[in-house]
């Protein structure tokens, strides 16, 4: 007897991956860095991540409802938690709770949903959120707790929820802050870095480890990280060679601040980045170069967020210009 079958388009093979898997793997790859950061800065790191995640999911659900989109597939895609965690990792562990709230409103509502939701955002939501709170609440975000004296839980909770202000008493400038201040006062790089034990290289290494795993899993590809590295070298190396007293070394740039995190986790955000191989290389290079430029000449100690946002704006253009030559077309 003839049998009827349901139709379906080719390819029939099950899909190789899903958005949820991709985002989940990126979250997993953050673990080594998060663990090290927690060990150094105390549970505040985790608290900030949890806070941001909660706000992100809430806002995401509300926006999906408002826009009449299905909740399940989009809440389950893990893109909102990833945005939240990347944002939270840029905050000092004792930042007050409303910083996460404001940042997530900027990220999820403005940067993501007002642009059309997942896949349509022109700018990296986490970095939009961070840039906004950085510009608006510079003071609250400038001080980090000293590495060797983790904040006691009471002070932490007081700082985050109570509006207590522990940072004036205990805050320590980050190496990047110190560098800018000291250079501003006419000291040399060597003098500015006197107190820096170079420990942050370990954190950079932890991010790099996670990044390498993502590379191995083919979740990200080499173009962006290599581009960032090249961008940093291209700007920092000549400056450093020109005047080692006034400019930090490329190694210093690479191992401090959010560069390693940015190279593997933030600049590799697919949605707001370039999608062509050569576009990605240039995208990364732009991020690296902008970061060093902002650090050296700009008004803020770190420049990863600004670099990423600027390159986000250029990504569509990069993709257009660096379109690969289709197979069989004349060179």
């Amino acid at each position: 007897m003839a049998r009827e079958f349901r139709l379906g388009g080719a390819p029939h093979l099950p899909a190789a991956t899903s958005v949820r898997t991709v985002m989940g793997k990126v979250l997993l790859a953050l673990l080594p860095g998060v663990a090290l950061s927690t060990a150094w800065h105390g549970p505040g790191v985790l608290l900030q991540a949890a806070l941001a995640c909660a706000f992100a999911l809430l806002l995401e659900a509300a926006m999906l409802r408002l826009r009449g989109r299905p909740l399940r597939p989009f809440l389950g895609d893990l893109s909102a938690p990833l945005t939240a965690v990347l944002f939270a990792l840029c905050l000092p562990p004792w930042a007050p709770w409303w910083i996460a709230a404001v940042g997530m409103v900027a990220a999820i509502v403005f940067a993501k949903h007002l642009y059309g939701g997942l896949g349509y955002n022109l700018f990296n939501p986490a970095m939009v959120g961070y840039a906004l709170v950085l510009v608006a609440f510079t003071r609250e975000l400038s001080g980090w707790p000293p590495l060797d004296a983790p904040i006691p839980p009471g002070a932490l909770l007081d700082g985050v929820f109570g509006g207590g202000v522990p940072w004036d008493a205990m805050a320590q400038a980050t190496p990047l802050d110190t560098l800018r201040d000291q250079l501003g006062q006419g000291r040399t790089v060597a003098e500015a870095q006197a107190g820096d034990d170079g420990r942050s290289a370990w954190l950079a290494l932890a991010w790099t480890l996670g990044g390498l795993w993502l590379l191995q899993q083919r979740v990200i590809h080499w173009h962006v990280p290599v581009g960032v590295l090249a961008g940093v070298l291209a700007v920092a190396l000549p400056l450093w060679l020109y005047d080692t007293g006034r400019h930090a070394s490329p190694w210093f740039h690479l191992t401090h601040g959010a560069l390693a995190l940015g190279a593997f986790f933030i600049a590799t955000d697919p949605v707001s980045g370039a999608a062509t191989p050569r576009g990605r290389l240039l995208f990364g290079a732009g991020v690296g170069a902008m970061t060093v430029l902002v650090r050296t000449f700009g008004a803020y100690p770190d420049g990863v967020a600004f670099g990423v946002l600027l390159m986000n704006a250029c990504a569509p253009l990069l993709d257009r210009w660096l379109k690969p030559r289709p197979f069989g077309h004349a060179r």
Partner: protein
Amino acid sequence: MATAVWVLGLLGVALGALLGWVAVRFRRAGAPLADAIDKVLPQTQCGQCGFPGCRPYAEAIARGDADINQCPPGGEAGIRALAELLGREPKPLSADHGVEKPKVLAVIDEAECIGCTKCIQACPVDAIVGAPKRMHTVLDAECTGCELCIAPCPVDCITMVPARAGLAGWRPSRPLPRLTALVDAARLP
């Protein structure tokens, strides 16, 4: 702070210049407007727009005497193309001028045809051949499906058939979006 203002200001100027350059560099060459409009019209030459053919309609649009939503054969896609060309908002097809239909071809029932030549005179693209008192036929390759030959035929021997039929004319349909927003939304309280 001042540095930031300077940097942002300069950036703005630089990006503005870039945008300006892109706009100039990629501007469409301005062909005479009526020609450009005529290129977009379907050339069915059916007269449903109220003008004796596509070219006169194109000229009317170019003069500003006609709206862009009067051509049923061009349909929605045609209106969108016109809107884009003229930098206007698309609008729905004007119902006064007709409705969008699938493409058709005229076929003359050759047994019925009395050879009156009326259809030959009506055809805007000379797609019907035949001598007086002899049976006429339609050249498939040239027929635009304008239906202008139907009314004049005294014995009603002309019919319109779908232009793309059967296996050879089969086309896959546009994929349906599988993001079943409606299903999930219905489950919401």
